[in-house]
């Protein structure tokens, strides 16, 4: 739930909101109850902007992406909310309508390229498939486009690699192939589900720079899901933090990550070893992630929060706007400012 959030644009991009998610809720029917996987998530992405979506496992970040593009597992359903792509709500659309949009308007890249690519189809054909199906290109035109895309994403020797199979590529190269496929019909926004988590640091660096240049040069927007905070800082302009299916903080990357206004974000930052700052000791977040079937009352983070007060246990915690275009769900966010003192700067 957002108060005063809809319509407020922020940051990079040449203007215009490409994607707006309003109060999205996803429920999964499981044997032990209904899992509230995504419970009221709202965000916007401007043209050419990269927005990060961070959280740990079970926070609902991947489910949010899948709900946006409509590839939820059969047990999961969007129970309320809207996903407005260029003003059109995707939620009520049928699968065949969605298929016309997936590719030309919105596409997705995944964490494991080996399972996302067809192992028995040559890579060039996989890249060319989108333009042939969605844009009506002829075989030759599509092949030309595929070669151009392969060059764009930095695959060396594209003419030869066109006819190669996915298993002949390294992990980083496969990820580039996946990006090429995602770009093939010139979508407005690409959803990225932890695409660099399984990659080596040096390869991750290459892929992140590639994505950044794509945003800058073709104006494509990104939603980048990850659990790795510095990666978000490297790529995105704005970031949203998820916990237990809800958004707990949202704003510009440097504000949220360097000067958090929610104890969970603060906890994430303080518990992760950072190559730049060496702290006396890492401060882990006590406890464990909440049950999504019966989450804690009031603020979902309250059982683990060092600043918990009585109202946190009972009051609902929607995102509220703070000055500077940032949002937090914490009722006592000022406590975070006080707690940032222990960081030693090199």
């Amino acid at each position: 739930m957002t108060i005063g959030g809809a319509g407020a644009l922020s940051g990079a991009g040449t203007g215009g909101t490409v994607l707006e998610v309003r109060d999205l809720r996803v429920r999964i029917a499981a044997r032990h109850g209904t899992v509230r996987a995504v419970d009221g998530v709202s965000l916007e992405v401007a043209r050419g902007e990269a927005v990060g979506l961070v959280g740990e496992s079970g926070s609902g970040k991947s489910m949010t992406l899948r709900a946006i593009i409509g590839v939820l597992p059969p047990e999961a359903k969007v129970t309320s909310g809207q996903v407005l792509l260029d003003g059109v709500d995707l939620v009520p659309l049928s699968n065949s309508d969605l298929n016309r949009i997936r590719g030309p308007k919105i596409s997705m890249i995944f964490q494991e390229p080996m399972s996302a690519l067809n192992p028995v189809m040559r890579v060039g054909y996989q890249i060319a498939e989108g333009p042939r199906v969605h844009l009506g290109y002829s075989k030759a035109q599509a092949a030309e486009r595929a070669l151009e895309l392969m060059r764009r994403v930095g695959i060396p020797d594209p003419e030869r690699r066109f006819r190669a199979y996915p298993h002949e590529f390294s992990g980083g190269m496969r990820q580039r192939v996946m990006i090429a496929i995602a770009l093939s019909c010139e979508p407005e926004i690409i959803l990225c589900d932890e695409p660099t988590t399984a990659l080596d640091v040096t390869i991750q660096d290459q892929i992140l720079r590639l994505l950044a240049s794509l945003c800058r040069e073709s104006g494509v927007s990104l939603i980048f899901v990850t659990h790795d905070l510095p990666v978000v800082a490297q790529l995105c302009q704005r970031v949203a933090v998820m916990y237990g299916g809800e958004l707990v903080e949202r704003g510009h990357v440097h504000d949220v990550l360097l000067d958090p206004r929610h104890p969970y974000t603060l906890g994430l930052v303080r518990s992760a070893p950072d190559v730049e700052y060496v702290r006396e000791s890492l401060v882990p977040i006590p406890g464990s992630p909440p049950s999504l079937v019966s989450p804690p009352s009031g603020c979902r983070f309250h059982p683990r929060c060092a600043f918990v007060e009585q109202d946190c246990r009972v009051q609902p915690t929607p995102l509220r706007e703070l000055p500077g275009g940032r949002y937090t769900a914490c009722l006592h966010y000022e406590r975070c400012e006080e707690a940032l003192a222990d960081r030693i700067r090199p």
Partner: protein, 291 residues
């Protein structure tokens, strides 16, 4: 999931019951199979008590009677009560089939483990043995062996053991090939545990479930093998009741007394059905239940 106790140490969640045991009766197929097999086994065990007749004594004055209050399924061509013979035949066949699975299971599991765990030339030798046996169809080989060894229970056991171990060996070997790559095996090796101990205590309990499930269908296969042997006259020698020979003998009376051949067949089908259901049900439970 876990609670933090007062001094900051983590307490462990207490589980109500292991998932697999808690749910077996909720699976209709498995439950049905278990119940059916239970009834069959009870019938077999209580056989002698359920019928006053002797299955072997001939009574030539009472041949080929139809079903009646005295003879629930009538009598056969030698005056013996068919119902009694069904019960005793079931008893014999079940006993032989269950026992006939035990030796192949043991031999196959041991050889398969050694083959999978050690690899190298040991694996090569054992697998070539497997290849040789597998080259022949199961029934052909069993029947041929029994023919050579002479009909009788002992021959059936030997034949089935010599032919049947290979399936278990292959199953266990492929499971172990995968399982031995798990870190917990490396951890056990790092802990200085001997290979035998690792195979027996660490690997087998994790992989033997597949062999057990296969064993269920193997029992069915063995029953059919015994039936087939009986059909060819190579099974349990008469006058001991045996479902296969009953089917064979009853063939001659198909048109007039069809019950003599179809009822034994029906019993075989029911046994096979119950074991299959149990095997499938176990497979469903064991797979998701495994951590």
């Amino acid at each position: 999931m876990s609670a933090i106790s007062a001094d900051g140490l983590m307490a462990v969640e207490r589980q109500v019951a292991p998932r697999s045991v808690r749910r077996w009766y909720r699976q209709p197929a498995l439950a049905f199979g278990v119940v059916l097999l239970g009834l069959i086994v009870i019938a077999a065990v209580l056989g002698p008590l359920l019928s006053p007749y002797n299955p072997i004594t001939q009574n030539l004055g009472q041949t080929l009677l139809g079903p009646s209050a005295h003879h629930l399924v009538g009598t056969d061509q030698l005056g013996r009560d068919t119902f009694t013979r069904l019960l005793y035949g079931l008893r014999n066949d079940l006993r032989i089939a269950f026992l006939a699975v035990v030796s192949p299971f043991c031999i196959g599991v041991v050889l398969g483990s050694i083959s999978g765990y050690f690899g190298g030339w040991v694996d090569a030798v054992i697998m070539r043995l497997v290849d040789i046996v597998v080259a022949f169809p199961f029934y052909v080989l069993v029947i041929a062996l029994v023919f050579v060894l002479g009909p009788g229970q002992r021959s059936i056991y030997i034949a089935i053991t010599l032919v049947g171990w290979v399936s278990y060996a292959r199953i266990i070997r492929s499971e172990i090939l995968v399982a031995k790559r798990q870190d917990y095996v490396l951890a056990a090796q790092s802990g200085g545990l001997s290979a035998v101990r690792i195979m027996a205590r660490h690997l087998l309990p994790n992989v033997v479930s597949q062999a057990i499930i296969y064993g269920m269908s193997d029992i069915v296969q063995d029953i059919l093998a015994i039936v087939a042997l009986g059909y060819f006259g190579l099974g349990i020698p008469p006058p001991t009741p045996d479902l296969g020979s009953m089917i064979n003998d009853g063939q001659n009376f198909m048109t007039t007394h069809w019950q003599l051949t179809t009822f034994p067949g029906l019993v075989v089908v029911l046994v096979g059905l119950s074991l299959s259901l149990i095997g499938d049900g176990l497979a469903d439970i064991i797979r998701p239940g495994q951590a």
